[in-house]
C-alpha cells in the first residue's frame, strides 16, 4: 500500500472560516455528502529532521512527515558527517540540531497532513487534523482543508469520506490557531491525538491538545527519559487512554520471555528470580525500565530502592513475595548502527535460583545484535536457556494504524501497571 494524496487540491481558507466550511461540506442537505462515522485523528507532525534535510539539500522534497528510508539514510549520514556519537539514533533532536547549524535554503512542497499513509487512510478517518510546525518560527498561520476519499482499491467505497485539515506555521502562529480545533472534533466520535515528535518539545501545546477523553498516542523513546516516564505515569493516573509506541515495540520481548516460562515445569523458577539485567542501546533507558517494571509487576515484586550509577547504569533492588531480594540493572551499551528508536533493548538476562535445584539463567538477545556481556560471568553451572528476539520491522504509521483500528478507550492494564513503577525506577 502506498501513501495517498488528497483527491482535490487543498483549499486555503482563513482559520475562522474552516469550521463553517466543513459544516457546510457535511451538511445533511448536500446530496453527495456522507461523512464516515469513524474517528478523528489530530497529529502533531513536526518532521524536524526531514525539514532540515530538505533545507540543507540532503534530500529532495516533498516533505511528508512519513518515516521513509530516504530520510533515515540521509539522517544516518548526518550522524557520521557531524561527528555525533555513532550511537545517535538518526531521527532524534541532536541530528536536527546538527543540521540546524548548516547553511541551506532549499525549498520543497510541504505535504504534511495531505500525504496520508495508506495504513491510516484505509481506516477512513472522518477528520485528520495535522499541526505542521515550520522551521521558520515567524511563519504565519496557513490553514488548508480538503475533502478526502480513500481510493476503491485501497478499500474505499463510494459512500463514506472524510476530510483533512492542515494548520501550518511557526509555533506561535500554530498556538493561535488552536482555537478552531475544538469545534472541529465532533463529540460523538472518538478522537485520537498522535504526538509524532519529541515529548520535550512544546509541552504546553501537548497539554492543550491531549485533553481527556481524547486518546493519546506518543513514543516514550522520544524526549528526556524522566519527562517521558513522568508524562506516561501522570496521564495514566489521570485516567486517560494512553498508547505508547515504545511499549508496543516491547511486545517481542514480552512474548519471548513469557514463552520461555510457558512449560509448567519451568514456571516455579519465576518465583525464585534473584537477578535481572537489561541492556539497552545508547542512553535512553525507558524501554528497558518498562520491561523491568512489567516483569516486577507480573511477578509481584516490591520495589526496595533504586539508584542511578555514574555511567548511566540504573540499579534497583526488589523484594519478592517470599521476602528474598532481586537485583535489577538496566545498562546502556554502545551499538554500531542504532535503531531509529532510541533505547531499544539489546538483551536481557534473568537468573533464578530455585531451592534444591540448579540455578537457571534465561538470556534473551535481540536478533540484530550480540549478547556477549550478558553471556559472560559464572553461569557454567546454571541451566542455560537462550532465545533470540526477532526485530520488528513495522513502520510507525502501521503501529499507529493498529492502535486506531483496535480503538480501546482505556490504557492497556499491563502498561498502566508498569509505567508508574518504571517512573519510580528512574527516580
Amino acid at each position: 500500500m502506498s501513501p495517498q494524496l488528497t483527491l482535490q487540491t487543498p483549499l486555503e481558507l482563513p482559520p475562522s472560516e474552516i469550521p463553517a466550511y466543513l459544516e457546510q461540506l457535511w451538511a445533511k442537505d448536500q446530496p453527495t455528502s456522507q461523512g464516515a462515522h469513524t474517528f478523528c485523528l489530530l497529529v502533531w507532525q513536526p518532521a524536524w529532521v526531514e525539514q532540515q534535510l530538505v533545507r540543507t539539500g540532503r534530500i529532495n522534497g516533498p516533505i511528508t512527515g512519513v518515516q521513509r528510508d530516504e530520510v533515515i539514510t540521509a539522517a544516518r549520514q548526518v550522524v557520521s558527517d557531524s561527528d555525533l556519537p555513532l550511537t545517535t539514533p538518526p531521527l532524534t533532536a541532536s541530528v536536527g540540531q546538527a543540521l540546524g547549524s548548516l547553511n541551506g535554503d532549499q525549498q520543497a512542497e510541504d505535504l504534511r497532513g495531505q500525504h496520508v499513509d495508506a495504513a491510516v487512510s484505509t481506516l477512513r478517518p472522518r477528520r485528520l487534523i495535522t499541526l505542521a510546525p515550520s522551521l521558520d518560527a515567524s511563519h504565519p498561520l496557513e490553514t488548508l482543508v480538503a475533502a478526502y476519499c480513500p481510493l476503491p482499491e485501497e478499500g474505499g467505497g463510494t459512500a463514506a469520506c472524510g476530510d483533512v485539515v492542515v494548520l501550518r506555521g511557526g509555533y506561535a502562529a500554530l498556538t493561535q490557531g488552536l482555537t478552531i480545533l475544538q469545534p472541529l472534533l465532533p463529540e460523538d466520535l472518538p478522537s485520537w491525538v498522535w504526538w509524532n515528535g519529541s515529548l520535550d518539545e512544546a509541552p504546553e501545546l501537548l497539554e492543550q491538545l491531549a485533553i481527556a477523553p481524547r486518546r493519546l498516542i506518543f513514543d516514550s523513546a522520544l524526549g528526556s527519559p524522566h519527562h517521558c516516564l513522568n508524562l506516561l505515569r501522570d496521564r495514566i493516573e489521570a485516567g486517560q487512554s494512553v498508547n505508547d509506541l515504545n511499549w508496543l515495540r516491547l511486545r517481542g520481548w514480552r512474548e519471548t520471555l513469557a514463552m520461555v516460562f510457558d512449560p509448567p515445569q519451568r514456571r516455579n523458577a519465576l518465583g525464585h528470580v534473584v537477578q535481572l539485567d537489561i541492556d539497552v542501546e545508547g542512553e535512553h533507558p525507558v524501554q528497558g525500565l518498562l520491561l523491568a517494571a512489567w516483569i516486577a509487576d507480573r511477578l509481584g515484586w516490591e520495589l526496595g530502592n533504586s539508584e542511578p550509577e555514574s555511567n548511566g547504569i540504573i540499579t534497583a533492588s526488589f523484594s519478592r513475595s517470599d521476602g528474598a531480594s532481586v537485583t535489577m540493572r538496566v545498562a546502556p551499551v554502545p551499538v554500531g548502527q542504532p535503531s531509529i528508536h532510541p533505547g531499544q533493548i539489546v538483551g536481557m538476562r534473568l537468573i533464578c535460583q530455585p531451592d534444591h535445584q540448579p540455578a537457571a539463567c534465561v538470556i534473551l538477545c535481540a536478533e540484530s545484535g550480540g549478547c556477549m556481556r550478558l553471556e559472560a560471568g559464572g553461569m557454567a553451572s546454571m541451566e542455560l536457556i537462550e532465545e533470540v528476539v526477532p526485530v520488528q520491522h513495522s513502520r510507525v504509521e502501521a503501529d499507529v494504524a493498529r492502535l486506531l483500528e483496535g480503538g480501546h478507550d482505556t490504557t492497556t492494564p499491563l502498561l498502566a501497571a508498569a509505567a508508574p513503577l518504571a517512573a519510580k525506577l528512574l527516580h
Binding site: H37, E255, A258, D262, P263, I295, L299, G407, H408, T412
Partner: protein, 508 residues
C-alpha cells in the same frame, strides 16, 4: 512463591492477537441455545482478553419481543458463573448489547433493523461495519441472506459479512442450491461457513506441523505412509438433539463437515503462501480428488452402526431407540466408518479410514498416520514383529502429538521395541486453548476466511458422500445399521472392514 504456579504470570494479558475493527455483531436467533451457550460467552471472552475494541456492539435479533434490558439479563443469567468473578467487566461489555425483535421473513422488520443499526453506529461509533451471524434454523439460511441483501445490508463487501452455521445443505444438490442463493446476495469473501472443528488449535496445528517443519513434508506421501485413520469418538449419546439428529445422523452431523475438514487439512498439498484463498483452494482440490474406496458398491467400504443399551447394572445406558424423541424403529446411524482413497500423486493407493460415533468407549479425536514398515527386518522385535512407525495427532482431549518408533531394547541382544516421543499442549504451554467459537468469531469479525469453508469445499465434501446418501435413500438395506453396545468401540463389522486390509483400528 514456593507453591506451583498454575498459570504463567508473564503470559497474562499478552496474547499477540490481530486487532478486530470497530463493528456491530448482529446475531439472528439470539433467543436460541447457541447464543447464550457459545456466542455471547465467546464474545465476553474476547472482551476479557481486550481483543474487542471499545467501539463494539452486539445486536441480538429474534422474533421474541424482548427489550435490550431483557436480552442483557437473559444472557447474564445464562452466563452467571462466568460473570461472578468479573461483574464490572460484564457491566462494561453488556452496555454494548442491544436487542431488536426481527422476523427475517418480514421486509418491514429488516427496514427497522437498518435504522437500529444506524443508531448503534452513532451511539457506539461502529463505523457501519457489521457481521451478521445466522444462528437460525438451516431452512432460513438462504432466505435470511436474501432478506439482508434486499435490505441493502450486504452492499458494502468490505464492511458486511455473514456467518452461516452448519449444516450447509443436506446433500450435494441442496448445498449447490444454497450456495447459489447466498452468492447472489454478496461476494464469496463476505460468506463465512462455520465449522467449529477448524477453530480448534490442534486442527490448525496440523498445518503448522506439516508446513513449518522440514522433517515431515518429505515423508508425507504414499512412499512412506501406508494408511491414515481419522477418528472422532464421543461418549455421549444423542442427548436433547434427537429432533435434529433423527433427520441428520452421524454422516451429515460429523463426517461431511468435521471429519472431512480434518481429512482435507491432513492430505492437502502445500499452499504457495499462507493466504485464505491459497489454503482453501488446496483443501478444495484434495476433496475433489477424494472418493469412496468402492463407489460402485459402497457397502464394501462403509459401515453404519447404532448404539444399543449398555453400561453397567448400577449405571445403565439407554440405546438410541430408547432415547426421548427418537423413533423406536429408527434407522438413523449414530456410527459411521468408511474407507476413502485420494486419487492424486501424493496419496494414490493409501487408504484413509474415517470413523465417528456416539456412545463409544472414549471421547477423543485424532489423526493417525501409519508409516510403511522397514523393507528388511534386521532385528528381533520384543513384541514378535516390529511395530510400524506412527504419528498420532491428538485433536482432543489431551491435545498434542506423539511419534512411535523402534529403539534398541536394553540388554546384550539386539532386540527392538517401540517407544513414544510425545508433545503435549498442556506440558509445553500449560494454558487451556480458546474454545473454537472464540477463534472463529474473532476471525469472522476480522474478515479472515482461512478457517471457514468455501463454496467449492462444501460442495466437494457433499459430492464425496453422494453415493452413500443416495444408497441410504434408495436401498437402505444395502447399508444396514449394525447395532453396537454403548461404551464399546462400535460394531464388529467396522473391525472386519479393516481386517480385510490386514489392519486394526487404533485403540487409544
Amino acid at each position: 512463591m514456593s507453591t506451583t504456579m498454575t498459570t504463567n504470570p508473564l503470559r497474562v494479558g499478552l496474547r499477540q492477537e490481530r486487532v478486530i475493527a470497530p463493528q456491530c455483531l448482529v446475531i439472528f436467533g439470539a433467543s436460541g441455545d447457541l447464543t447464550h451457550r457459545k456466542l455471547v460467552p465467546a464474545l465476553f471472552e474476547l472482551f476479557m482478553q481486550r481483543r474487542l475494541p471499545s467501539e463494539f456492539a452486539v445486536l441480538g435479533c429474534a422474533r421474541r419481543p424482548w427489550s435490550d434490558e431483557e436480552f442483557r439479563s437473559k444472557m447474564a443469567e445464562a452466563m452467571a458463573d462466568k460473570i461472578t468473578d468479573n461483574p464490572q467487566a460484564w457491566e462494561q461489555f453488556s452496555a454494548g448489547m442491544f436487542y431488536e425483535p426481527v422476523d427475517l421473513q418480514k421486509p418491514e422488520d429488516l427496514v427497522k433493523l437498518g435504522g437500529r443499526l444506524e443508531t448503534i453506529d452513532r451511539l457506539r461509533a461502529t463505523r457501519s461495519n457489521r457481521t451478521f451471524y445466522l444462528s437460525v434454523s438451516p431452512k432460513f439460511y438462504g432466505s435470511g441472506c436474501r432478506a439482508l441483501a434486499d435490505a441493502g445490508l450486504l452492499r458494502d463487501p468490505e464492511r458486511s459479512r455473514v456467518v452461516i452455521e452448519k449444516p450447509f445443505g443436506r446433500d450435494y444438490s441442496s448445498a449447490q442450491a444454497l450456495n447459489k442463493v447466498v452468492q447472489s446476495c454478496g461476494q464469496e469473501n463476505q460468506i463465512f461457513r462455520i465449522d467449529h472443528y477448524l477453530g480448534k488449535e490442534t486442527v490448525q496445528n496440523i498445518m503448522v506441523l506439516r508446513f513449518a517443519n522440514t522433517i515431515f513434508e518429505p515423508i508425507w506421501n504414499r512412499n512412506y505412509i501406508s494408511s491414515v485413520q481419522i477418528t472422532a469418538a464421543e461418549t455421549v449419546g444423542v442427548e436433547e438433539r434427537a429432533g435434529y439428529y433423527e433427520s441428520s445422523g452421524a454422516l451429515r452431523d460429523m463426517v461431511q463437515n468435521h471429519l472431512t475438514q480434518m481429512l482435507a487439512i491432513t492430505a492437502m498439498e502445500t499452499p504457495g503462501r499462507f493466504d485464505p484463498e491459497a489454503i482453501r483452494s488446496e483443501k478444495a482440490k484434495v476433496l475433489q480428488a477424494a472418493r469412496l474406496a468402492d463407489e460402485l458398491e459402497p457397502w464394501n467400504c462403509c459401515i453404519r452402526g447404532q448404539y444399543g443399551p449398555g453400561g453397567s447394572q448400577s449405571a445403565p445406558l439407554k440405546g438410541y431407540r430408547q432415547e426421548p424423541g427418537v423413533d423406536p424403529n429408527s434407522t438413523t446411524e449414530t456410527y459411521v466408518a468408511m474407507k476413502l482413497f485420494i486419487d492424486n500423486w501424493r496419496w494414490q493407493g493409501v487408504p484413509f479410514y474415517v470413523r465417528t460415533g456416539k456412545r463409544l468407549a472414549k471421547r477423543l479425536s485424532e489423526v493417525v498416520l501409519t508409516f510403511r514398515e522397514a523393507p528388511v527386518h534386521l532385528f528381533d522385535a520384543a513384541g514378535g514383529s516390529p511395530t510400524a512407525n506412527q504419528l498420532i495427532l491428538r485433536i482432543q482431549p489431551d491435545e498434542g502429538a506423539e511419534f512411535r518408533f523402534e529403539v534398541k531394547s536394553p540388554g546384550s541382544g539386539m532386540r527392538s521395541r517401540p517407544v513414544e516421543m510425545e508433545f503435549s499442549y498442556d506440558e509445553s504451554f500449560g494454558e487451556p486453548s480458546d474454545e473454537g467459537y472464540v477463534r472463529l468469531l474473532a476471525d469472522a469479525m476480522l474478515s479472515d476466511p482461512t478457517l471457514f469453508t468455501r463454496s467449492d469445499e462444501v460442495e466437494a465434501a457433499w459430492r464425496l458422500y453422494t453415493p452413500l446418501l443416495e444408497l441410504i435413500e434408495d436401498s437402505p438395506w444395502r447399508l444396514p445399521i449394525h447395532p453396537y453396545e454403548s461404551r464399546t468401540w462400535g460394531p464388529a463389522a467396522a473391525d472386519s472392514m479393516l481386517a480385510r486390509d490386514g489392519l486394526l483400528w487404533r485403540r487409544p
